[in-house]
Symmetry: C3
Subunit: 177 residues, 3 copies
């Protein structure tokens, strides 16, 4: 798997968007695993119930020993900055990070700017995974509407800076940028 | 409409995905009707209320007499296997089939594998229609979340085997694969 | 910004679709602002609560003085017909217009035909913005389901006539047609 000179095969920042079970994580992992190991996996999930615990365990079981896993439910930019130099980074996923920030009443625009800065300063490629959540009927509750808005703004900000933006459909990547 | 040699114009398996009223059925019908008649239409809908009865009647009225319609709310793989050899097949739609399987507490992974096998053994092209349901806010109820996950997994499994995957937007096909 | 001969750079009718906060309005404004000013902005929003008032104010603040803003929550076709000849038109957005029509119990198919006719008769390019709302789980309530159906039909009718259909993802345009 390890081949010299592949570091340039993906751009510095990649955003992988898609719906539930659209193969986002798997595609992002494949992008990173095409680069020389070891790799860093930054997990934003908090296992607050059995459903989530099962999902986290499933994702973790799929990854090889070449992955260093870092949990960062809130301090994502700090976690990216702390990764050893030259190690490609996968962040899975931004929607859970945003959920955690909103529940903890953090400043979302400030956190977004901090994330962008951390990604831009990374010495190795960064792949960010996030759920597209804005293509259904307007939700009844105000918190869900605010979440859609915040997620949409975050995606736009990141997509403007990313070298590659991918929209996953049924496990297949559509290149948007 | 009937032209010899058109059997090769579409791949053996096509998956047509899209949102509500995105023109999925109409596009799938056009794909099949470009092949020589007669054609088989496998309907998975169960008319359990007036809204559904109206929708089924509207779809049926649109189709010509060259279509043989088979109802298969649960036994979709068996229905595909029973279609006379050489007859192109349209299945409309997988999301309703999945709903029926879940309500009847069938084994979804086993049913999915059976469907894939039936499609691969078909002697004529198969076009499968399904709703993309995973691009909205995470639903409140656990059954809806499980449904999104099962639908996503089914779509990924089929898309990996399909020769063509189409994502419909406003009645227009976007080629994903 | 004003350059002669750019009137032909976009087709007569453009449909910009996308999810919540996907950058639809911004992209549509950029399309129109590439044409010679002055431009007409037809707003269908009704400011019935603070959330909506804030959103309208934000959109309005972004637009320069070269925009003439016309409010048309219900009489959208009439508003388009009343725009001075040769002035490019942006309609933002069709989903709110449809909501207003449904709440006022207007005849949706008749209104849709009227809108199409008004767009076709316009002497300058028209760009229509609308939300894609059909890619989530089927909503529990019948009104929301009817809304998805009406929106999907309207988008299909317009997309069939449009010279350009764009699906926005994270602020980036994907060309569908």
């Amino acid at each position: 798997m390890i081949r010299a000179g592949m570091m340039d095969d993906i751009p510095h920042l990649t955003l992988v968007l898609g719906g539930a079970r659209s193969g986002k994580s798997r595609h992002a992992e494949a992008l990173i695993e095409a680069l020389p190991a070891p790799w860093a996996y930054v997990a934003t999930a908090q296992a607050y119930d059995d459903e989530m615990r099962a999902r986290i365990a499933e994702h973790r079981a799929r990854r090889s020993q070449d992955w260093l896993t870092i949990d960062a439910p809130l301090t994502l930019p700090e976690a990216i900055r702390a990764i050893p130099a030259g190690r490609p980074v996968l962040v899975d996923c931004l929607t859970l990070w945003l959920t955690n920030l909103m529940l903890a009443e953090h400043d979302i625009p400030a956190a977004s700017r901090d994330l962008i800065e951390a990604c831009e300063r990374s010495t190795a490629p960064v792949v960010l995974v996030s759920n597209e959540v804005g293509l259904g009927i307007v939700p009844d509750n105000a918190l869900a509407r605010r979440f859609r808005d915040e997620a949409g703004r975050l995606h736009q900000n990141l997509a403007a800076r990313a070298g590659s933006v991918i929209f996953m459909v049924a496990g297949l990547p559509m290149r948007v940028k």
